[in-house]
């Protein structure tokens, strides 16, 4: 018992929570945007992998860390555009297209990586984002190191939650986005082209997914390896349901998952005699439980996964 208390009382544990949560926050926001406009984007897993690779490659070839983030966002948007083209104007299956994008993007990421570093056995490292203590706030005991000594992209992710919440609920654009996910015919009837809204929003969401991937190679770690996304994209898809398609709850869900993850990592080393795989399972198990509870109340966007064709009902 005291082991658990010790873990929960340690600053290191809580510091890790936000770090682990950051790619999940960004990725979940990305999926949330796509789904709010009515399109499922299973390309996230691959887009994150590509974002991680291109972010790392940009910095490795001499670029700025922020240039790496920007490159990841741009490539994410490009994959998003591909996904949007196939699912929106062409109305193809969103599942199949998304999985195709994931396979394609992960493979291309590995391919480009191997073109850039053909021989190395251990992946070359870069100088990653360093923790950026917020003046004054970082000196608060406990809360300071936990909340205000994070890397810049983590702060960015938190800002993104607030921005997205405001855009979705307080601006005309956000209303158009939500409306498109509910009933594209209604949007058309009000003189807005739902196809353009969908394409644009999917691109924005996919850009966030790219940045989520770049965080892994530029802040969480300091190199790229092909398996680094490790199912985080799929977790984001589930977190969106948990979040009931709301940005604030997406933050909550990502932090909760990250908490379980950080906790089990420390349990693994603190508890003897239990196979570590059981601890590894813990966050996933708990997310399934949380999902089951939350999904009861879910109010799914009504037009999710329904292709929009003009003049057809």
């Amino acid at each position: 018992m005291s082991v658990i208390v010790d873990i929960l009382a340690s600053v290191g544990m809580w510091e890790a929570v936000l770090r682990i949560a950051t790619p999940l926050i960004l990725g979940t926001l990305g999926v949330l945007l796509c789904e709010r406009v009515g399109v499922l984007n299973l390309g996230i897993e691959g887009i994150m992998a590509f974002g991680a690779m291109i972010g790392w490659l940009t910095v490795y070839s001499g670029g700025d860390l922020w240039a790496g983030i920007a490159a990841a966002a741009a490539c994410g948007a490009a994959f998003g555009f591909l996904h949007a083209l196939m699912t929106v104007p062409l109305g193809l299956s969103q599942h199949v297209t998304g999985l195709g994008i994931t396979l394609f993007a992960s493979s291309v990421a590995y391919y480009v990586f191997r073109l850039a570093v053909p021989t190395a056995t251990s992946p070359p490292t870069i100088e990653p984002f360093r923790p950026l203590p917020v003046p004054l706030l970082a000196d608060i005991p406990f809360l300071g190191p936990v909340l205000f000594t994070q890397t810049a992209p983590t702060y960015l992710a938190l800002v993104a939650v607030a921005v997205l919440a405001v855009v979705l609920y307080r601006t005309p654009l956000g209303l158009a986005i939500r409306m498109t996910g509910e009933n594209p015919h209604a949007v058309e009837a009000q003189g807005i082209d739902p196809i353009l809204v969908r394409i644009g929003t999917i691109m924005a969401g996919s850009a966030l997914m790219g940045v989520a991937g770049a965080f892994l190679s530029l802040a969480a770690f300091n190199s790229f390896f092909p398996t680094m996304v490790q199912g985080r994209g799929w977790i984001c898809i589930a977190l969106v349901v948990f979040a009931l398609w709301r940005p604030g709850r997406a933050l909550l869900g990502a932090v909760l998952f990250a908490f379980f993850d950080a906790f089990q990592l420390r349990l693994q080393t603190a508890v003897d005699g239990v196979p570590y795989q059981l601890f590894l399972m813990l966050p996933y198990l708990l997310s399934i439980l949380a999902l089951v509870v939350m999904a009861q109340r879910a109010r799914v966007p009504q037009a999710l996964m329904q292709p929009y064709r003009r003049g057809e009902r």
Binding site: T171, L175, M179, E182, V187, G191
Partner: protein
Amino acid sequence: MTRVLELREITKRFGATLANDAVSLHLDRGEIVALLGENGAGKTTLMSILFGHYTADAGSVRVEGEALPPGQPRAAIRAGVGMVHQHFALAANLTVLDNVMTGTEPLWRLRSDRSGARARLAALAERFGLKVDPDARVADLSVGERQRVEILKALYNDARILILDEPTAVLTTQEAERLFATLRDMAAKGLSLIFISHKLHEVMSASDRVVVLRGGRVVAERATRDTSREELAELMVGRAVDRPVRPPATPGPVLLEARDVAVAGKGGASLKGIGFALRAGETLGIIGVSGNGQTTLAEVVSGVLAPASGTLTVRGAPLAPGVRQAISAGIGRIPEDRHAEGVLGDMTTWENAVLERIWSPDFSRRGIVRRGAARAAAARILRDYDVRGARVDGRVRLLSGGNMQKLILGRVLEAAPDILVAAQPSRGLDEGAIAGVHRRLIEACARGAGVLLISEDLDEVIALADRIRAIVGGRLSPAIPAERADAGLLGLMMAGDWRAAEGIEAEERGAAHAL
């Protein structure tokens, strides 16, 4: 009189069909014009062109003298044209205010002016008597309220010309009357309106002028006060339409009997101990305001729902619950909602035509579908029941409501059921199609089937039924013979006042004894 809208020589083709053939139409300020025509006459196509959902192949639209660029809903909205769609263009999960505001502000503005919008919406609602709660979720509103939101949406966009596509299709009689009162009030306040309809009585009572469309052409234009229902009916259909008349019935043995059947359900979905008998060769009409249990009644009899208590017997044998059991007991059904329950829209005509009987040896053998036989059966239905616009391998979704209903009728009647449950069989159909449906129901009755006709259309029930009962709050009234039914008596029965009906039932029973 100022001319606010002018459509000139509008022509539109869809593949081989000419949906609009050089249609010209105008609208003056403060006027209500009814666009009358049967389903498929091109009314909705014409209005969709006006609103920019479609682009015309030829012709022009002028609003207040200015030419309207084709194919742009945005331009139509800006010119002051508002459209109230038949299938409401609303997002159920969002609030009324959200629905009204969408697209009314520049998209890139950083902040929505929600309080300003709320005030404006309230003012409009006040001015035109269209009360709705701006913060209510659309999903929680009744159909009538949703329509008010649709109208408010158009008014909020400063519509001066309002187009309503079959506005009463989904409304109850009371809601429809209230709607037309609102429309007249709007016209008096300077708005100009066009409403699309195929219902003669509402065209006669609510419009100033009628434009009749048939086969994509304008066939007539009349000032409403100078015409009559009969003339309009003939113009619309192209020939005189007479609904068929029921021959006197000679009821046979009891086919279907319900005793104390009860089903627990939410609100208007419950049945509270109903009993009735349906005899061979007769039609029993069940009338009632929607939401009083008629949907549940139809579902119980066709095996979708099992009664919680009470018994259903067919020819004296208890009916096991289950749709397949009901079908094999000889019960055929015409479901109330043909799109949701009657057909699978994305499957082909032949699949829909035989799906109910796919396990019969006619259509499958050892688990393999006999496509040839099934397709032949479908082709036969298409021919015998005059289903237009359908191909055996085409998707059913593409059919109009009337043709879909003919397909369902054909499917049911081909199986020659002893008992036919017809729930709202002519809802949403035009005059020609209604006459066709009625003819088939009468034929089924003459063949010796018992028909349970559940309908909100009193004219229909009086014309077809031998005996009539009302359903009120999940209970059935006494039965009266159709000959003694009139609107007043039926109104009392539907309101739950059954004293007169009881008297008549007792009298009839007495008369039967005396014989």
